[in-house]
Chain length 199, copies 2
Amino acid sequence: MLLYNSAVSGNCYKVRLLLAQLGLPYEKVDVSVVDRSGRKELLGELNPGLRVPTLVLDDGRPLAESNAILWYFGDGTQYVPEDAYERAQTLQWMFFEQYSHEPYIAVARFWLAYSGKPEEFAVRRDGVMKGGYAALAAMERHLEKRAFLVGETYTIADISLYAYTHVAHEGEFDLDAYPAIRAWLDRVASQPGHVTIDA
Amino acid sequence: MLLYNSAVSGNCYKVRLLLAQLGLPYEKVDVSVVDRSGRKELLGELNPGLRVPTLVLDDGRPLAESNAILWYFGDGTQYVPEDAYERAQTLQWMFFEQYSHEPYIAVARFWLAYSGKPEEFAVRRDGVMKGGYAALAAMERHLEKRAFLVGETYTIADISLYAYTHVAHEGEFDLDAYPAIRAWLDRVASQPGHVTIDA
């Protein structure tokens, strides 16, 4: 398999983390998330969204969207529940991640730590920080009573939300007021086969 | 079942359309998408994202995120493929919808047609229109060679992307240059059991 990858992208890290925990081998092609020229030539036939991660299976078929890739490899393993309601909850948290979490927490991190132009973020900063803290508050309320996001075990929903939450400080989000999230981050990082984002 | 609903929300329409095609009965509670006061009291225990649609199953368990709800009811029916790769592609298009389509096409429509304050949209307009047309271009390229988004039949991926694409003109998106999308919209609307957004 071939993974079009970025070392700093949390979306790509999700895929690397699950593939490591499943023990599945793959090749990587690193793609810049700052210089986006050439994306259409590189990914146009593989991913309509022109984003990384994009994965090419051994038979040449492409698959895109980090959370769809997690589902493809996770389903049928311990990382995706069998119960229909818990499966839907797993998807619920992954859609929450892409709609209510990533566009704020990943975006702040990108602009402040990786874009090379942090000053351009100023005009959007208030709205992005507000959205990010709203997502963290939703996670905190949920995790106050639970060890993991869905059911009682670690699933791809945890992988999905761990990816950008554990580097939220790079976007200047302060997790001091979110003890349930901090304990959950520790639980996720202590799962068998865990690899770090810079592994 | 009880659906916390908005008559104008495309996300809620997705759920109403699938439930109609499956012949599943439910009650509705209409929630404003303009006046968001009281959301936490109404939905706080049911949906960490405090958004509609939120569905409460007959046994009282809640489910949120439009595309997760589609998966819960669609899986095991003709509307979700059985093949593992096609299932992942279905999710791929639904994650594309929430990340690369809805934040542009639904947002332009909301501000211009429903917010009551269309002038406040001016500062964001250029970026939102550009993002929306990028999503439409990705769909057009894909649909040029296909009748439906995944496989050869109508799936919940089509329901998901139909919801806001068919009302994109309310956000002042012009579909004249997208003939494959327009033909696909007609195919979706002619499916058995189809209901309109204002049904």
